[in-house]
């Protein structure tokens, strides 16, 4: 489990997080939402010890990031908003292999992991492609594959779908479902409420504090919480309310699964 206990953090005196507590379990899918500059990315960076709390603790599987940075970095894979900043190689396969090579795995094991990670994001056929020829969306899937090749216990994704088309969103949605089944804990930062609806829990941040931590059904029924962070329920949720369980709801949820 990743557990944040009263985490506060400030950038040169400007407070980004003010006493945040929250848990993400293995096999759980948590959507982290909130306006720009509400602290979402800072929170994500706490989870794999890219940042260390000024106050409070971030505890990954029982170990505080204050005591052991490497423990959290091995356990928690990160996918950032900008795939360009995470791509290091010219060939797709080499890029995914970068992490496994760096931790000294055998060539056979590296090959297995590269194939497995590319398959998880639906890019099996791309192993020999040049990265420069990929579209923005595919680069984002490649960045996710790079994190998966390290076989993390948790994955934190910072807006992984903001540049993806329908197929890309479906592919990321499928990847998340697969990772969940494999027992990986997933935290996804998103501005897309249709995506948040697919999570087990929605955690809403505002000015560095958690203003709501609830199941999607409860969050999207909580007018006050939604108004505070300036979001509306997604179409699929309204449709579910208007029609009850119905085939048409599956149809409109298709692109965010």
């Amino acid at each position: 489990m990743i557990e944040l206990r009263g985490v506060s953090y400030a950038y040169k005196g400007r407070r980004a997080l003010g006493g945040v507590s929250l848990k993400v379990d293995k096999g759980e899918h948590v959507a982290l939402i909130g306006p720009n500059a509400s602290g979402k990315t800072t929170l994500a960076m706490m989870m794999n010890a890219l940042l260390i709390p000024d106050e409070g603790d971030c505890i990954v599987d029982g170990v505080s990031t204050k005591d052991d940075v490497m423990h959290a970095r091995k356990a928690v894979g990160m996918v950032f908003q900008d795939p360009e900043s995470q791509i290091v190689s010219r060939r797709v396969g080499d890029d995914v292999a970068f992490g496994p090579i760096n931790i000294g795995l055998s060539p056979g094991e590296i090959e297995i992991r590269v194939k497995e990670a590319l398959a998880a994001v639906g890019m099996e056929g791309f192993i020999d492609r040049e990265v420069s020829g990929l579209s923005g969306g595919r680069k984002q899937l490649l960045a996710i594959a790079g994190a998966l090749a390290m076989r993390p216990s948790y994955v934190v994704m910072d807006e992984p779908t903001s540049l993806l088309d329908g197929r890309g969103r479906e592919a990321v949605g499928r990847a998340i479902t697969n990772l969940k089944k494999a027992g990986i804990g997933i935290t996804v930062i998103t501005h897309d409420m249709a995506e948040a609806l697919q999570a087990d829990r929605i955690v809403a941040l505002m000015d560095g504090r958690v203003v709501s931590d609830a199941r999607p059904q409860a969050f999207f029924s909580d007018e006050a919480a939604m108004a505070r962070i300036g979001v509306e329920p997604p179409y699929a949720f309204k449709l579910l309310q208007a029609t009850g369980t119905h085939a048409i709801v599956d149809e409109v949820s298709r692109t965010c699964r």
Binding site: A37, E130, G133, G166, P234, Y235, K238, H246
Partner: protein, 269 residues
């Protein structure tokens, strides 16, 4: 004469192993004052088309012509902010065009106003602004060039709902004032409601060119890999069952049609 592309094709890595045809004989003509949404799956050619139309890139074959300046806002333009004040950043374009100091002042003010930013930001360091404000400041820099055609690549990506609304409002106002907008985006939910015309690309070809109201009845649009607005998927579901509704049908209206037409138990096959 409007902004036109005649038989435009573009091939990346020509005669190399990674050769890829991004645009395949595109013919399009965009008039002054139009608001055009360019959409399509990843790799369908949206960015390439924008770059060819703006003159940033010369197509492999074919011809692009325009009767006025075309300016481009790239993906995540705020990453290209470089000056130490917002003023200097927005003024960069006009200064490079040799515009006088007074007129540069005037254009900078006009551009910052057009995107809805307060004049107070001009003296500030762009890095001190919020993400949404930085996006708007970057857009102001493009507007200060006073283009007749403004091409924008994913102008709302990565913004929260407030930032998105501000960008969209700025684009609508500029369009009303006469600037043609050509927006490449996956954000169909927002742009289908305001564009007058929608171009759907699939593997470098235009498969749909018309008003968004007509897209709902075009089968090819559904198989082009787009992130279609949920209302449009609901509309299609109803249309396939003989109920004619617009693409932006509301959830309550959908429920009404389901009850009214006795479709309660209908399952998808």
């Amino acid at each position: 004469m409007p902004l036109t592309a005649g038989d435009v094709s573009h091939v990346y890595c020509r005669r190399e192993p990674g050769e890829a045809k991004a645009l395949d004989r595109i013919n399009v003509s965009i008039d002054r004052g139009e608001f055009v949404l360019v959409t399509g799956a990843a790799g369908s050619g949206k960015t390439t088309l924008l770059q060819c139309l703006s003159g940033l890139m010369r197509p492999t074959t074919g011809r692009v012509a325009a009767d006025g300046a075309a300016a481009t806002s790239i993906q995540f333009p705020e990453r290209a902010l470089f000056a130490s004040t917002v003023y200097d950043d927005v003024a960069f374009g006009p200064r490079n065009m040799g515009v006088s100091k007074d007129e540069t002042d005037e254009r900078v003010l006009e551009a910052v106003e057009a995107v809805g930013l307060d004049k107070g930001v001009l003296a500030r360091d762009p890095r001190a602004l919020s993400h949404g404000q930085r996006r708007l400041a970057a857009l102001a820099g493009v507007i200060a060039v006073r283009p007749r055609y403004l091409l924008l690549d994913e102008p709302t990506a990565g913004l929260d709902s407030k930032g998105r609304s501000r960008v969209i409002r700025a684009l609508m106002e500029l369009n009303e004032a006469g600037t043609a907008m050509i927006v490449a985006s996956h954000d169909l939910g927002h742009f289908m409601g305001i564009c007058g015309r929608m171009l759907v690309l699939d593997r470098g070809k235009i498969i749909f060119d018309g008003p968004p109201e007509e897209a709902v009845s075009c089968d090819a649009v559904y198989s082009a890999g787009l992130a279609l607005p949920p209302s449009m998927l609901a509309a299609r579901w109803l249309r396939l069952r003989g109920v004619d509704v617009p693409w932006d049908v509301s959830p309550v209206a959908v429920a009404g049609h389901i009850r009214g037409q006795g479709l309660e138990g209908t399952r998808m096959d």
